[in-house]
Symmetry: C2
Subunit: 546 residues, 2 copies
């Protein structure tokens, strides 16, 4: 019998309350006013004080005539003033455009002009990196300088304003930001981040209030990151890098204390801050974790319960170094700027309780399971057909969910999305029967040798398991006979005398013979992208030039 009477279908009768960042702010005011935001080298402020600044900033933005919907750039380290902008812009229906401070001038100018930033807010110490480009960003009406303790000279220019003077010179808005949003407003643009774009122009991901709040709830889900009120959260990952993985918003929504480490990436600075503030949760890219690893035992990190690693794969040996030293491994997180950015969280589950430690290490080396609301699948690169979740089939990773990009800002890129609206990630991966994602490689980093694929990620994992290897990147070298052959670029620990032959012997039992790199090139350090990830593009460029 066919289903008939479709006219009976009806909506539920629940309150039409929007999901907005205004709720995050006002929730912190109401419940967590006494909790602290600590900036390295700065004053320790309460959420009440931060919120008071946000309320003053709201009227300041009005008096500067910054339109609703306008993009306002931030060019700043992880500080509480940056946090105030994180809140004041979206809760007043402007768009937070956080700009990577390590971009080339060319990309910087492209991004600010493409976003049509109305105002740009800059850490005083970072002015020299952006002010020389100011004349090529004619749309920026004001440059707001954020005091950061540096004495960097400030040019004498009528467009330049002082953040603290703006705050102190403005009355606080005393109403409810939350009440100014309707249900339709939850889709309003709230944030804008450009992907670093190793090829082509950077592309902007335009987050909505809805996507930001749902992602925020994702960071609170127990058993994943599970941010909660008793946490002390330190985003080492920059706030200009995909919203610092959502950690600032998540911490404020649940009332966790925040520790913002500023600009310095010095191990003694970061670990000292973690020790002094009793940090429970910290997030950083693997290269940062690598730089901290040798210094772990000099600090009391007994408060730490969770370390998050993302941006690129966390070498198993590195994670195990942390587990041995402080009892906490680095938990994998897979994400992208396009995924707000957290999509998948690693770690073991109940089915691994009786596993051997070796098996558990292997589970932890996978990227993990998707957060609630996130769907992942792998598809055949040629046909686009979905591949089985058997832990063996390798295909392109695609992702769907309410905090996943459905397009880019003011640029048409149909090649980035499937017909059914999923994001094509460019990552090659397997998914197993428990839904565990395991990245095999970036599609463009895979090495094709004699018609067969070699995973640069697996080779790197093997090489980095050698105790003397600090960092490694494997890329393809053009080869007349095999098309491509792998070459390893290696940084050894100070004083190591390891040779290419020793490294080769070390990995021989781990990989197929034809995977063995043709060359091991030793370097003092490896090139990094603006977000601190290894830059294989730079290595390829250098190789081409050489």
């Amino acid at each position: 019998m066919p289903v008939t009477r479709d006219n009976d279908v009806m909506d539920g009768l629940m309150q039409p309350r929007p999901l907005t960042i205004a709720h995050i702010l006002e929730r912190a005011e109401r419940l967590y006013a006494h909790k602290h935001v600590t900036t390295a080298g700065g004053k320790r402020l309460t959420y009440a004080e931060v919120a008071e600044h946000v309320r003053r900033l709201a009227t300041a933005l009005d008096s500067l005539g910054v339109p609703r919907g306008a993009r306002v750039g931030t060019f700043a380290a992880n500080t509480r003033r940056h946090l105030e902008l994180y809140l004041a812009l979206p809760v007043t229906k402007r768009v937070l455009h956080s700009i990577n401070i390590r971009l080339s001038a060319e990309h910087l100018e492209y991004i600010v002009n493409h976003a049509e930033d109305d105002v740009v807010c800059v850490d005083r110490g970072l002015l020299p990196r952006i002010w020389p480009s100011a004349e090529r960003m004619p749309g920026v009406r004001y440059w707001v300088v954020l005091p950061d303790g540096t004495g960097t000279p400030v040019p004498d220019d009528p467009r330049i304003l002082d953040y603290d003077e703006l705050i102190s010179g403005s009355e606080p808005f005393t109403g409810s930001f939350e009440d100014a949003f309707t249900l339709a407003d939850e889709n309003l643009a709230a944030g804008l981040c450009y992907t670093s774009g190793t090829t082509g122009s950077p592309k902007g991901v335009l987050y909505s209030h809805r996507s930001t709040v749902l992602h925020c709830l994702g960071t609170l889900a127990a058993g994943f990151i599970g941010l909660c009120e008793s946490d002390v959260v330190m985003p080492i990952v920059p706030m200009f890098h995909a919203n610092a993985w959502g950690l600032p918003y998540g911490a404020m929504m649940t009332g966790a204390a925040l520790v913002l480490p500023g600009l310095s990436a010095e191990p003694a600075h970061l670990l000292g801050l973690m020790e002094a503030e009793r940090v429970t949760v910290a997030g950083a890219v693997p290269t940062v974790w690598t730089s901290l690893a040798p210094h772990l035992r000099a600090h009391d990190l007994s408060a730490t319960r969770f370390l998050l690693g993302g941006g690129s794969a966390v070498p198993t040996a590195l994670s195990e170094t942390y587990r041995a030293a402080i009892g906490v491994p680095i938990t994998h997180s897979w994400g992208m700027t396009e995924v707000s950015p957290v999509g998948v969280i690693g770690g073991t589950r109940t089915q691994h309780r009786d596993a051997t430690e070796e098996e558990r290490v292997a589970v932890r080396s996978a990227q993990g399971q998707p957060l609630p609301l996130v769907n992942i699948r792998i598809v055949d690169v040629e046909t686009g057909a979905e591949l089985p979740r058997d832990g063996k089939a390798v295909g392109e990773l695609q992702v769907a969910g309410p905090w996943v990009a459905g397009g880019y800002f003011r640029v048409d890129t149909p090649e980035s999305f499937t017909e059914d609206g999923w994001l094509r990630t460019g990552d090659l991966a397997t998914i197993d029967a428990d839904g565990y994602l395991r990245l095999v490689d970036r599609m463009k980093d895979l090495i094709k040798s004699g018609g067969e694929w070699i995973s640069s990620v697996e080779l790197e994992a093997a090489i980095s398991s050698h105790p003397d290897v600090v960092e490694v990147a494997v890329i393809a070298r053009p080869d007349p006979r095999w098309m491509e052959r792998p070459v390893a670029y290696v940084v050894l620990r100070d004083g190591s005398t390891a040779t290419a032959g020793e490294l080769r012997a070390h990995i021989e039992p781990m990989v197929a013979k034809w995977w063995l790199p043709d060359d091991f090139v030793f370097m003092a350090k490896l090139p990094k992208t603006g977000t601190g990830k290894l830059s294989k593009a730079s290595l390829r460029d250098a190789q081409r030039i050489a």
Copy 2:
């Protein structure tokens, strides 16, 4: 300067993915297929098997011609078949109408007819409670009997179908339920629960997919209930009572094992199940926790990490009994059918770390802080003006949020909502500077004596702190001089010889002299509502008749 260019305002560019219960089901299939649902006295099934039944049920509902949007009643205990209906109905865009099995025939008939239930699914053992009303529910086309191990006779009637035969006789739907939903569909009605309604007709709360999924994320938030994959969740609270507080959906979304205790409320049954299944999280109304309390030490409950109490205030003495016996207090949850139902969760926070145990007990006696996305406020009962959050001002509790009702099903009740769309709860409460809610009384339970208010809740708390008191209810008795005077109805533990004078002496140091009840009436048990709460309405009726 005024804000201009509002035409610049734009939406974010995120995927238009709806929040649906279909995601909960298919997530469990993809990630947690091997996890278990255990029904007392029944087989232990995996989520894969449950999902397979749901997929068969979906085609069975189609073949019965149940329209999209139609309401399907369930009249059942907490079992895995009930769970399958929890899923199959909303994921196929029908509406799950869970019916309280303890309703009077009059209310039962009213509700089924008001909801226009197309089909009603009934536990075989519960048939005698509803079948006699069948002729007065002419809109019900089919009665589906759920086998429950009882041999209850099934009438010979062509409208009666067997659940297991329906399942085994239907092919499973093999597509994606989730893909059949669009963004607009997230507002579709998914569930319908009628409030027990001590006055007037029962009123229906019509949940949407969106409200259900957001509430579900709320149950996962760490530091509140924090359901996670390693949990074993046992909803003792009935699945016909406000969706068993969202525990079944929450458990499935995060992959926790589920233990469904069936109909029996026997302490040995419930505690035996908790012990055998290593239950970590359980939820029940205080009267159930009271009945289990004397038997705690006979069971190994070492796996338990969280006990949830709601529906009415949990006496502090009861919670402390649990903490002493098994190390886990009963955590307060404030909610209502209209709030999906969980709005507020109790417990201590970091600011109470250095508090004395006595102070911590006092904090735990409060209802707690709202979940993310939930807003609460108290207003002056006369003027409607918002009252300060100072822990002293007493006003009517009002609540707003995306999982809070904005109306009732097919009945206009403007008195239940404020002009700005908040739900009026009828509870009197204080809110303190940390946002902690503390219920003072139901507005209608407050006793007005000589022009001053007496809180029945506070009096009950004082009386129940006497070691011999098992249950107590305080209501007003009309009084010619004082308008109203408090009277306490008390159940003493077996063998107690406590007298009214002893109880009076016990509470004298705790309350104002003029609060002392005029009478202590000793009873063998107190009357309960259909959901197991103390029924003050019944006591008032009895008093009136007497």
